[in-house]
Each structure stands twice: as C-alpha cells, then as structure tokens.
C-alpha cells in the first residue's frame, strides 16, 4: 500500500553513505592523532571518549526512560575494579596486595584486556539488574536514593574488602592498555548500540514510560521490565567505561569514585538536553575539553593586576549554578529531545546560509 515516497524513508542510502564517510573521517583523525598528537592531547581525547560512553548510557536511563538515577560513580567503580582485578597478573597481584594477600581464585586469574572489559560490563550490568528489582517493582523515585547509596556502599566495600580490592591503597601499576583505538572503538560501539535501541520498539516503550507510565501500561508495556532493561544496559556500558578508565589512569583507589563524577555527568546530559543522545555526545565533548579550561578557576592567576589565589570548590559552585539555571530557565538544553539527522543538518545549514546572505 504505502510504497509512495514516505517522508521517513527518503534519503536512506544518502544518509548511510554520509554516516559511513563521517565515521571514516573520525577514524582518519584518530589515526593521525595517534602518531602526531602529544601524550597530553591523546589523554584528553581518551577521556572524551570515556565521557561520551558514560553520558550516552546515563542519558538512556535518565533522559530517555525518565528515571532519575545517580549511579555513574558506583558503576564506574565497579567496572574499573572488575577489569583491573582481572588484568593484573598473579605476580603483580602478589606484589600489590601487601596488607592481606588476595583471595583465591582471583589471585590466580589473569585475562586479556578485552575479556576484562566485557567482564566489567557484565558484572556491572548484573549489579544494575539486582538494584532494579527492589526499586522498579515499587516506586521509581527511590532509584535516586538507592543509587546514591550504592555509590557510598561501593566505596565502603572498596575500602574494607581488602583481600579483593587492596583496601584504601587501591590497585597500582595497571597496564596502560587504553589507547585511542580501544577508547574510541568502545565509544562508537556504545553510541551505535544505544541509538539503534532508542530507535526500536524498545526505545519507544522507554520513552512512553517517561512520558506517561499509566498510559504506557495501558498499552501493554511492562514498565518494570522496560525500566530494568534501560538501567541494566546503562550499567553494562558504564562498566565498560570503568574498565577503560582504570587502564587509562593505571591507578585506582576507592576515593577516586566520588559523587563528583555523577554530578559532572548529570550536568552533561542536562546541558546537552535530557533525552537526546546527540546532546549527550556534544555536551560530553564540550565538557571534556572545556573542563580542562575551567580547572583554571581553582588555580591561582593574575588578572588586571589583581591576584586571584584560586579557590577550591569554585568550579563545582559554577557547575551547580549552571545546572540549576538550566533546569529553571532552559530545560531543553542544547538539543532539547531532538536527534541529529542528516536531513535536519542540511536544513539547518541551508537556514544558516540564508541568514548570512540576508545579513550581507
């Protein structure tokens, strides 16, 4: 019946070609960066990739499904520890665990980096699933407090389960496996998975739950499973990000995974536009690059002869004010709930060109 050129199906081939070409350009850029950029710049690029993974998966539960959660620091920690414990060799473990020896069989296991990443994702996803059952079975708004509490508990466990985590000393001397290819490969994989999921019936069900849970259930959607799926998948990808982070900074300890991480991600997804994967990606990039610059406010500098001595906490004050102001006055953020499409992109550039011409 509906063979006629439907507006949704136009330009499928063109869009595919363009997407593949952009991916190619990104890979070329990474290949160039890998051999020409300074270690500092490469590190920032790696951090950017990790932030994109985190933001996009955090947005899946908070923005797309509309369930307010504060899990990233907890899941990041879980992924980082899982992956780190698995890649250290038995000899390294024996050297690192000086307070108490590591328990068997963990002490004898060593796997390759990719396997440890997958394990990190699965362990975190399983944890997310376990959290989802008590929370989503009753009242979703406890999710925030449960995940906030989980973040604290993970720190308590990391400090006290010495035979597994080496306590407050943390794990040192991890191999710097995380390079541009692993970080950006995982990042692209995550973004593609989540975009495809959001564009499927599962994604529509998640959005329906966000918009009106009662109406979603009246249409045969099991809200409990839908939320659980979103949360578990978020957990999986955040676990991957944790594994990447551990092998980027090579030293992890319980105090690393504080709530600050979660707060930064919350700002990213809110500024990007809650519910927009595109917005999460853009805001994550802006944040990783701009965050370096903002670090300046906490360090001393001189302006117009006035010496500013740098105030710890100032950056967070600015961030909290930004978050509150965006929530109060610009809730749609950068992208609202819109996603990038090539069609939209062309229309936007055409509009922009027309505007410039008018001004001339």
């Amino acid at each position: 019946m509906s063979v006629e050129a439907s507006p949704y199906r136009a330009h499928v081939v063109r869009d595919r070609v363009l997407s593949a070409a952009s991916l190619g350009v990104l890979l070329l850029f990474l290949w160039y960066a890998d051999s020409h950029f300074s270690p500092y710049s490469i590190r920032i690029l790696n951090v950017t990739a990790i932030f994109i993974i985190l933001a996009v998966s955090y947005n899946l539960i908070n923005g797309v499904t509309g369930q307010f959660s504060l899990e990233p620091n907890a899941f990041l920690a879980l992924g980082a520890y899982t992956s780190a414990i698995l890649t250290l060799t038995p000899a390294e473990k024996a050297r690192t665990f000086i307070i108490e020896p590591m328990i068997w069989p963990l002490s004898d296991i060593a796997v390759s980096f990719p396997v440890s990443l997958v394990a990190a994702g699965l362990v975190t996803a399983f944890m997310a699933f376990l959290m989802a059952i008590p929370v989503f079975r009753v009242r979703g708004d406890y999710l925030a407090i449960v995940t906030l509490g989980l973040g604290e508990v993970i720190q308590v466990l990391a400090n006290n389960l010495v035979p597994v985590t080496n306590g407050s000393l943390g794990l040192k001397g991890l191999h710097p496996y995380t390079n541009l290819w692993w970080a950006w490969g995982t990042c692209i994989f995550t973004v593609i998975c989540i975009v495809r999921l959001v564009n499927s019936s599962y994604g529509r069900a998640m959005k329906a739950v966000r918009e009106d849970e009662t109406a979603a259930e009246a249409m045969g959607i099991n809200a409990f499973w839908t939320k659980t799926l979103a949360f578990t998948l978020s957990g999986f990808f955040e676990g991957l990000a944790g594994g990447l982070l551990a092998h980027l900074i090579t030293t992890i300890s319980p105090s690393l995974f504080t709530f600050f991480f979660t707060f930064n991600l919350l700002i990213i997804i809110v500024v990007g536009g809650l519910g927009s994967t595109t917005g999460s990606v853009i805001a994550a990039v802006l944040f990783s690059l701009g965050g370096e610059w903002l670090r300046a406010v906490e360090e001393p500098f001189t302006i117009f002869g006035y010496t500013y001595s740098g105030v710890p906490g100032m950056r967070m004050v600015i961030f909290s004010v930004i978050l509150i102001l965006v929530m109060l006055f610009a809730r749609q953020g950068l992208m609202g709930r819109n996603e990038f499409t090539w069609q939209g992109f062309f229309e936007w550039t055409r509009g922009l060109a027309a505007k410039i011409r008018r001004q001339e």
Binding site: P134, D141, L150, M316, I324
Partner: protein, 295 residues
Amino acid sequence: MNYEALVQHLMFGVTLGCLYGLVAIGYTMVYGVLRLINFAHGDLLMVSAYIAFFGIAMFHLPWPVSFAGSVVLTGLLGILIDRGAYKPLRTSPRISALITAIGLSFLLENLALVIIGGRPKSFPMPSPFDGVFVARGIHVPYLSLWVIGITGVLLVIVLLIVHRTRVGMAMRALSRDVETVRLMGVDADRVISFTFVLGSALAAAGGMMWCMKYPALEPFMGVIPGLKAFVAAVLGGIGNVAGAALGGLLLGLAEILIVAIKPEWSGYRDAIAFGVLIAILLTRPTGILGEELPE
C-alpha cells in the same frame, strides 16, 4: 555482652536514632506534600551547624541566642530553597525538580567550601551540654539526655501541628489530593512553605546536636546523615511523621548494636542503612507505619 554494656549501647543507639529521626521528619513531610526527595535537606544540617558555630565563635553570642538564630535562619533558607528552586518547577516533570534538588545540595556544599574552607572546625560545646554522669556503671553524657529530650518535645509539637491544626490538616490533605486542598480554601503554596520551614527548623535542631556529638564541622558533613535520614523516613513509611521518628530510632539502634556485637564490621557501618533500604523495598515498600500513597 554484659548488662551494663548493653544499656550503654542502647543509649547511644537511641541518641543517634533521635538525630536521624529529626532529620527524617523534614524529608518525610516534604516528600508527603510534594513527592520530592529534597536532596538539599541533609545539607541544612551543615548550614545550621555553621550558623550556630559562627554565632558563638565569631560574634560571641550566648549559645541559646545563637542556637535560636540558627533555627530561624535555617527555616528561612528552607522557604528560600522552595520558592527559588522548586516552586517554578511544580508543574514540570518530576525529574526536573529532582535534578534541581541535587544541584542545590551541591551548591550549598561547595559554597560552604568556597566561603569557609574545607578544614574541619571543632564545634564549641556549651557547658550545659558538656559532661557525663555515671549511674550504676553506665556513662550518660548530658548531651544524650538533651538529644533525647529535645527530640521528644519536638516530635510531640510536630505531631500536634500535623494532626490538630488547620495547616497540618491541609498538609495531610495535600499529600493525598491537591484538589481537596483547593476546595478547603487553603493556599497550597503557603502550606508548602510552612512544611519547608518546619522541616528545615527540625533539621537545624538536628544539625547543631549532631555537631556537638560529632564535633567536626565540614562542608560535606550533611551528606551521610541526610542519606541515612531518608532511609529512616522510608523505613518508617514515607509521608508519616511518627514513622520517620520510629525509622530513625530503629536505624540508629541497628547501626550501634550491629557494630557493638560485631566490632570487626565497624568499617561497614555506613553500609547498614543501604542494606536496610533494599530490605524494606523488597519486603514492605510502604514502610512500618506507612500506607500506600495515591498516584
């Protein structure tokens, strides 16, 4: 454990439980009327303690003046928070208010860090709170008696307000149905403001006593007590004032007694509340005294 030690631990548990309870009442009341987890509530503990601290240490005010001032100012801050940050979002999706609440909590903590600095300050204990008496081998700090006494009095006052006054009735009605409240001819916003004042004032009382018990004042001191107080509110039945006090008491007792019985678990003390939370959600999500809140 012998008899004296048990009584001793029970007393410490009750003291801690009263503090959780005081903070939990504010959480539960705000959640009752707005269905909002007011993340900034725990930080009011910190704010009130700093106000009282500066009143005594900097302005050399007598402690009762300083304490009263702290209660009043914290109450006002409560209204300010509601009017400035939550009221504009009443008709927005709930997630917006929750995000703003987290933002506010972070703002308060980091403002304190910027203005006052992160180095812990020790809270000056006014003399009536200082000291211990020993009865039958049990050490009773005066502070514990104060905490238990003040909590008891405040709880009775709050229960009277909630159950016997018009504004209290409006508060309870608001938790069920906004329409009814409008029909009663009550200004819902004023009721909400009153809820914030009352809850914040209680948090202030809790905050100052917390600081005398654990005298290290620092910008993030409200986070953990806030989290636990919320768990206490859920345990007692969210929306229920007496339940919040009861939940606080049980949580305080559980923490002290578990560590007393198994000292080697003391490192996990902060995880107990979390275990309790998961256990309630799995078994009785409405809490001990709670009833199902309508949608």
